[in-house]
């Protein structure tokens, strides 16, 4: 078993990977102006959390499926969130003609004259 390369990759690798993934998502949320990009970055962050759950479930026991169950729920919720977000993006695009987050408010002020 010991010469199997997969045995060298412990749960720490997964956790560090998850943290990196989370921060990539965070930076994406912070630095991107496109609303679709932001939603995608949020998905990145969801996936990072999912990875953490999966890796932590191995601490309970070798055959524990608790983490996997949570991940299934989490995935479903993230899909919902993404669907709702895309719906709002569509509406905003129809109303203001843009999905740039920094321009939406100024367009709103122009339209409502406030």
């Amino acid at each position: 078993m010991s010469h199997n390369i997969l045995n060298c990759i412990t749960t720490y690798y997964y956790q560090i990977d998850a943290i990196l993934l989370f921060f990539v998502g965070l930076l994406g949320v912070v630095f991107s102006r496109n609303l679709i990009k932001i939603l995608l970055s949020i998905e990145f962050m969801f996936n990072a959390i999912n990875l953490i759950f999966v890796s932590f479930s191995s601490y309970i026991s070798n055959n524990s499926y608790l983490g996997y169950t949570v991940v299934i729920f989490s995935t479903a919720i993230s899909a919902l969130v993404l669907a709702v977000g895309l719906y709002f993006t569509n509406i905003l695009n129809q109303k203001f003609g843009t999905i740039d987050v920094n321009k939406i408010y100024s367009k709103y002020k122009e339209i409502n004259k406030c």
């Binding site: 965070l26 949320v29 912070v30 630095f31 102006r33 987050v101 920094n102 408010y105 100024s106």
Partner: protein, 612 residues
């Protein structure tokens, strides 16, 4: 009997409250009733003082005291302490006040704020009685301050004139120096005495135990501190009695109404300083240095102010300078261990100066000018005023009446030392010269108004004033029989010669044109007032510059720092308000990290504490 009637000090205050309260409620007493009530209050006090004088001749002093202020074991007391000294001076003050109340009814007749004048005069009467009859130095200190405050109000009676209000402020501020000195002296003596004897009943320094206080204070301090403290008292008295370094305020005080000048700045207020020295005489007298300083300052004052009085053209200023110089003589006599002579001279001088001021007031009222070069021939218009002024002038120069006897007593004191004898002769001669100059210029000079130019000097309302003048003159004449008889000497001839010289100099002409530098120096009172003025200005400029340095560099630096910090912070916080979605998110992330940092720190701290 004396104990039971100690409330008489409060009578003038009640009268004052009545007068002002009635005015406040819109009722208002008539002028006649106001004057009558005021006169009644002084009558009560003069009867009390007369009885007290009669009683204390044969009996020991009487003391009444109440607790005024209790701080832990310290009990400050107030009350009344009656012995011969203060009942004599109280009697003199009450009689003078009585006369001047009647006189003011004439002088202030057309004044709008008649009630205010009388209520202020009543308050002043009350404070001066409280001061004179105070049983301890603590009460003396309180009334000393009150006298200053009330005299400020009285000097600034016509406060809508700019010069008057400025003068009143100057007098008040200069008198505040004396307050501080007296307070300092009181605190030092009280602290040392109570510390040494461990007796907290002596904290307000009662005069009944003065010998004990002085001896224990002498025992508890070094000679240097003892002389310092006695000098504090001497200088406080010198401020109040208008002596040399601080004599200029008396000239400023002359912008008061003339009855106020007659009451306050000739007899009662300037008496208070010397009265303080008489009260605590054992404390001052056991220190040679302060006695020497009293002699030096007294003689300097007497000389300088006599010269200044000689050249003044303002009738009230002549009398004011004269007051300073006579009080200088009193202080010298006190410093020569002669309280009796100084008290006698002080009291007789108070009566004389009050009379002279009252005559001057009548003259000012009729001629409507204070310049003596415009006066003259006034004897023909109103011989009563001229005669009473002549009585006052003769008494002041020591040629007759009470002044003659008092001055003989004083001359005996000065006779032992050549220098003081010489000084006394010079001052006597100058006094005689300036007072007869005043008399001849005002009443006898050929160049002046015709009597027909002046209206209503025979008006019946002037009869009140003439009556008071006659009463005062009679008081001076009659009191010469009470004082031990005087004797004739060379000084008498000198004074007489000076009077005759004044007749030849001032009876026939009044247009003396002097323009030398010395003349200007003397006529402006040796520029003492100006020196203080410039000193104040330069000190003020210096201190303000010093303080402005602190302002610009230290306070300004702090301000600059705070401004910089706030600007940086505001630039950071500004990003929250710019409608930039990304910056909001950034802030969210930073806050999240901050909170996470706190939680991690707390967690590791808990781990460390429990040693996990």
């Amino acid at each position: 009997m004396l104990e039971d009637f100690s409330w008489f000090i409060l009578v003038p205050i009640w009268v004052s409250i009545l007068i002002m309260g009635a005015r406040f409620l819109g009722i208002g007493f008539s002028k006649r009733n106001t004057v009558l009530m005021s006169i009644l209050s002084t009558l009560i006090s003069s009867i009390y003082c007369g009885y007290a004088l009669f009683y204390t001749c044969n009996n020991s002093p009487v003391e009444v005291s109440y607790n005024f202020l209790s701080i832990r074991e310290l009990n400050f007391t107030v009350g009344v302490y009656v012995d011969m000294l203060n009942s004599l001076i109280g009697l003199a003050v009450s009689i003078i006040t009585f006369i001047i109340y009647i006189y003011s009814a004439f002088y202030m007749d057309k004044e709008k704020s008649f009630a205010r004048f009388y209520s202020l005069m009543n308050i002043f009467n009350s404070t001066i009685l409280g001061y004179i009859f105070s049983p301890n130095l603590f009460q003396m200190l309180i009334f000393w301050e009150l006298i200053g405050a009330v005299s400020y109000l009285l000097i600034g009676f016509w406060y809508n004139k700019a010069k008057v209000s400025v003068d009143a402020k100057r007098v008040f501020v200069i008198n505040a120096i004396g307050d501080v000195l007296l307070f300092l002296g009181f605190v030092i003596v009280s602290m040392n005495v109570t510390d040494l004897l461990n007796d907290m009943s002596l904290v307000s320094l009662p005069f009944a135990n003065l010998n004990l206080i002085v001896s224990s204070f002498y025992a508890s301090t070094t000679p240097e501190i003892y002389s310092f403290v006695s000098l504090l008292f001497v200088f406080a008295a010198i401020v109040k009695s208008a002596q040399f370094p601080i004599n200029s305020w008396l000239i400023n005080a002359m912008s008061a109404p003339t009855p106020v000048s007659a009451l306050i700045h000739s007899s009662t207020l300037v008496m208070t300083g010397i009265f303080l020295l008489m009260r605590i005489f054992p404390l001052v007298a056991s220190n040679i240095l302060s006695l020497k300083i009293m002699i030096v300052l007294g003689s300097v004052t007497a000389l300088l102010t006599s010269f200044s009085a000689l050249l003044q053209t303002n009738i009230k200023k002549v009398l004011a300078y004269s007051t300073s110089s006579q009080l200088g003589l009193v202080i010298i006599a006190l410093a020569l261990y002669n309280p009796i002579a100084s008290i006698v001279y002080l009291v007789s001088h108070a009566f004389i100066k009050a009379l002279l001021f009252m005559c001057a007031g009548v003259v000012i009222k009729i001629i409507k000018s204070k310049n003596i070069l415009f006066m003259g021939k006034f004897r023909e218009c109103s011989p009563i005023v001229a005669l009473s002024f002549l009585v006052g002038a003769l008494a002041l120069s020591g040629l007759g009446f009470s002044g003659f006897n008092a001055k003989s007593l004083l001359a005996n004191v000065f006779a032992n030392t050549f220098y003081l004898n010489f000084l006394f002769a010079i001052i006597g001669a100058l006094t005689s010269l300036y007072i007869f100059r005043l008399y001849f210029l005002v009443f006898e000079n050929k160049a002046g108004y015709e009597c027909s130019d002046l209206e209503n000097y025979n008006n019946p309302k002037y009869m009140i004033a003439y009556g008071t003048l006659i009463f005062m003159a009679l008081a001076i004449i009659l009191s010469s029989f009470i004082i031990p008889n005087g004797h004739f000497s060379v000084l008498y001839l000198l004074n007489l010669f000076m009077g005759i010289l004044a007749y030849y100099l001032y009876n026939f002409r009044n247009n003396f044109k002097l323009n030398s530098t010395l003349y200007h120096i003397i006529v402006n009172g040796f520029y003492i007032n100006k020196i203080y003025y410039w000193g104040e200005i330069y000190l003020y400029k210096f201190f303000t510059k010093l303080i402005s340095l602190f302002d610009t560099y230290i306070l300004g630096g702090i301000e600059y720092l705070v401004r910089g910090v706030m600007l940086t912070l505001s630039k950071v916080v500004h990003q929250l308000q710019v409608n930039n979605f990304q910056s909001y998110i950034c802030y969210g992330v930073w806050c999240l990290l901050f909170v996470m940092g706190i939680f991690i720190g707390l967690y590791s701290m808990i781990l460390n504490i429990f040693g996990v």
